[in-house]
Symmetry: C2
Subunit: 336 residues, 2 copies
């Protein structure tokens, strides 16, 4: 393993992105997301993900110097056209208007269009909870998942993320999960390691449950939670697809046309302002939410994201480590 | 079984509610919800549910002549204080302002406070999709469900419902599910019939998975979908509880104080206007949503609510039927 400080990791990430042709603004936004993933030890969204950024650029599936266009679309809606760039810079561009609208209206939506997407949603959720707002975000992806009762890929892994700000400097309550039973990458990993996958992750081409990763990669993933998870996944297709004038997961996969690039689609982010809802009773009700969290922890259950926050505390002090081979590959891409 | 037309069923429902002391407006709103449930053959939310309304009133846990108060709280928020009445009349009172706000702002929230709740959320969702709007609704209930990794009841069965309007007079895409693995009533049913329950529905007092319904009623239900379903359920506690200045499921159960009445809490309903989001591209993108539905159906999967719509077509022609004993009990309560 190769150890480095978070600062060194950021320098490396920026060097890779710059060397590969991303402009200054895109490089900054992308490296922030990747470093956040690495810092919280979400390795698949960490430095490793830079390889995918580079692959997507090489495939001509992302615009390296895209300049997002912000449209103040309605009192409760801000739209950002990412212009074919990655989602991060578009999100940054829309965030100030989203938060201003949420504070004024009580609730507001940020619709990002025409973006290439790879990041974990919790990064964006946390940027909103940092402003004291409640946040909800979702997006389609590539059509790898069958609807409940079906037998062919149609839905994306369609993540759903939610955040609730907490008082006294505590990290926010955040969850961020795929509505698929598992990430496609986990099935690929089992395939490479020649290991069977657990029951419930996917089906083969004939729609039969299968524990053979090759058959499932050739068939379809399943959603989590049976017909309920499937219904949620369809909701995400609708509200982060047609509702915001963007692609479904099936349309995104068709657009990819076998390139294996990151999905190209839209993203819907909602923000709600507890202060606008609660006025002078804000403190009382935020304290009741804290009671709920205390009751969860008191029975030995963990809040989601706890593992991330623990990792964050450690890596901020001790730095991070990545496989030496990944370090070498990134250094090569950075032309160091 | 006792057969009757939907009109006869409505007359019976209104007679029961009137005779038991609900005023004209409350009776009208309540009977509409109950008849909708019966019409769609959601029997537990049909005429049967009147017994629970009566029980809740007898326990002093609902205000029979409550007059909801509507507050235009913010550009994107309408609040309705149900004044201790059932939720239905409060929803009716808030609906016109919610839809007007959604059309103007793009997205708006209806927060119902201090309501007693028994209805399926799809009834309200459908009232919103009927206006061409997208809808999302949720509420806490009584604390009967343990969080993932926990061993004690803390969360409600916390339903989540979503609706998407469809063109050409087609019934909307709607789902409405409990975030618990199963309704508590289903466990009670197994208990009465002395049948074991499936693995995954609940845990005993010690937090161990159990298939004994009595032990689970004494312990806790589980959420659907493991830690993901649990995270969703916690989100519902937060956004339909503290965010709108109302009770969590634990607080609602404490308020009930053993009376066995319907839960007393708030409800959050969001509405989004596709026309405000999409403008002149509305028709194109609504057609893309139809493509998604077609692709689901083409693989032999069903859209949620299909069973309800099929039942509706039948009962509108052929009427409904309820057990003779229920009919007798309702007639007695109606003092017919």
């Amino acid at each position: 393993m190769h150890r480095m400080s978070l600062e060194e990791a950021e320098v490396l990430a920026k060097a890779v992105l710059n060397a590969q042709g991303f402009n200054q603004e895109q490089t900054h936004a992308l490296s922030q997301a990747v470093i956040a993933g690495q810092r919280d030890e979400c390795h698949s969204h960490g430095l490793y993900r830079l390889l995918n950024c580079v692959k997507t650029l090489a495939a001509g599936k992302v615009v390296a110097n895209a300049q997002p266009e912000v449209h103040d679309h309605a009192p409760g809606i801000v739209r950002v056209d990412a212009k074919g760039g990655f989602s991060q810079l578009a999100f940054e561009a829309g965030l100030p208007i989203l938060t201003a609208k949420a504070r004024e209206q009580g609730i507001a939506a940020l619709a990002i269009n025409h973006c290439v997407h790879f990041s974990a949603l919790w990064v964006e959720i946390e940027a909103i909870t940092d402003q004291g707002l409640v946040a909800l975000a979702c997006n389609p992806s590539h059509a790898w998942v069958a609807p409940a009762g079906g037998n062919r890929p149609l839905l994306g892994t369609n993540p759903l993320a939610f955040g609730w700000p907490r008082p006294n400097g505590q990290p926010p309550f955040i969850f961020d999960f795929a509505t698929s039973a598992i990430a496609r990458g986990d099935i690929e990993l089992h395939h490479r390691e020649n290991k069977p996958i657990p029951e419930g992750w996917g089906i083969d081409r004939l729609g039969q449950h299968s524990q053979n990763p090759a058959d499932v990669l050739d068939g379809a993933l399943l959603t989590f939670g049976g017909h309920k998870g499937s219904a949620l996944s369809i909701m995400i297709e609708l509200i982060a697809g047609p509702l915001i004038g963007d692609l479904t997961s099936a349309e995104s996969l068709a657009y990819d046309d076998g390139a294996g690039a990151s999905p190209y689609h839209g993203e819907l982010i909602l923000a709600m302002d507890p202060e606008r809802f609660l006025g002078s009773t804000l403190e009382d009700y935020m304290a009741r939410a804290e009671d709920l969290f205390s009751s969860i922890i008191a029975q030995g259950a963990r809040l989601p994201s706890q593992r991330r926050y623990t990792a964050r505390q450690r890596t901020q002090k001790e730095g991070i480590s990545i496989p030496e081979s990944l370090y070498q590959e990134l250094s090569r891409l950075a032309r160091l």
